[in-house]
Symmetry: C2
Subunit: 198 residues, 2 copies
DNA sequence: ACTGAAATGTGACGTAGGTCACGTAATCCT
DNA sequence: AGGATTACGTGACCTACGTCACATTTCAGT
């Protein structure tokens, strides 16, 4: 049920996003943008399913997705909520060629720009500033992942909950609480008890 | 007590490491290598101290370091053990210009190659393949960080301990157990109980 | 609007792992 | 070599959080 869409806004959103870290001429940006395929999904639809071949990553124009792992006991752990101007995929699979080990699906209706692994590498080779952009995008992601790891080791569930809401207040009434719990790594019951008094 | 050293091996170790992800001409590698400053540290010496200005990252030639955070209760959490051919620094501070929020010190005697932030950026600009190399270095780091995060959420202390030893068996008799515990995010007492049966 | 399915709240109870306390063994330093 | 520091083991107890069970509320699809 994916279908193609187009709006001028998406182009501008991506252009503005890139401009924060790299300098592209208009021709370079045209070439860059031409590699992205616009997609929409409805709430609940799956973008990447565990076991899939993964050959693309996704830039979020609108809506909210989750990248999550489900273990043998059917417990879900959310690695990332993907919001507008964020990138998402199963990067382990995408970079290594392995099958997807996680799932990505849509918490709300979503508009995405899809970039294939092959096109990204081609663009990085052709346009030095594109490689620069992707280097810094991952640099920031790496730092964020380290920070989250530290928060996991150092803080209890309540502190992590407050930290998350301070960082992303939009999440509070956008995603159901049991997904917040799955992101924080606590049971939904414990999370419920955390914010209802004590 | 840092002092300058030099050995031909370091150059070859770095060269071989780079060659795994990027293709440099001999001249390009000469230029690249000329930006690295060799340093040695004795066991226990501090490379980065919390609060320091951080302007370099470090490539490990020999020995083992730890990158760690100490919280208000003086509990230590180890973000990374740095082994030969790994890179280490406080990347949050290095990339953002902030003061160091973590410490890096030496578990054994150590030989490092030091690369300044400014030189890295200059090299990335001059030599496209260097930017390529650093993009992929961080890509891999990002994937590893995500994997560790997931392991934290999904596995208990024992499973994480076994995972660590399977991945890096050298650590077992290289670093003291309480540091392993600080990496796993458990108390040294709990870790001790884990491997002495039950 | 009706109905089944999610999402949420809350009690009772279990458990992994933390903390404190104290001991022994291994290293380091001069 | 001897004393001090650091590493490690183990028992007793505590606590944050998980699990299960069930009630209630909200939401989505026809």
């Amino acid at each position: 049920m994916k279908y193609i869409w187009y709006n001028m806004e998406a182009r501008e959103i991506l252009k503005e996003h890139i401009a924060r870290t790299a300098v592209l001429t208009d021709e370079e940006f045209d070439r860059f943008f031409s590699c992205f395929k616009p997609l929409t999904f409805k709430k609940g639809q799956v973008v990447i399913r565990e076991g899939d071949k993964v050959d693309s990553e996704y830039f979020v124009i609108s809506g909210c997705l989750k990248a999550f792992f489900v273990n043998d006991d059917v417990k879900m752990y959310i690695l990332q909520f993907a919001m507008p101007t964020w990138w998402t995929s199963d990067y382990n699979a995408l970079y290594s060629g392995a099958r997807a080990g996680i799932n990505v699906d849509c918490i709300t209706d979503v508009e995405l720009l899809c970039l294939s692994n092959a096109d990204r590498e081609k663009l990085c080779k052709e346009i030095h500033q594109v490689e620069h952009f992707f280097r810094w995008r991952t640099n920031k992601g790496y730092v964020a992942a380290q920070r989250r790891l530290l928060s996991f080791m150092n803080n209890d569930a309540k502190a992590r909950y407050e930290e998350l809401l301070k960082l992303y207040p939009q999440l509070y009434n956008l995603v159901p609480k049991h997904l917040i719990a799955a992101y924080l790594g606590v049971s939904r019951e414990t999370l419920s008890r955390l914010y209802n008094s004590h």
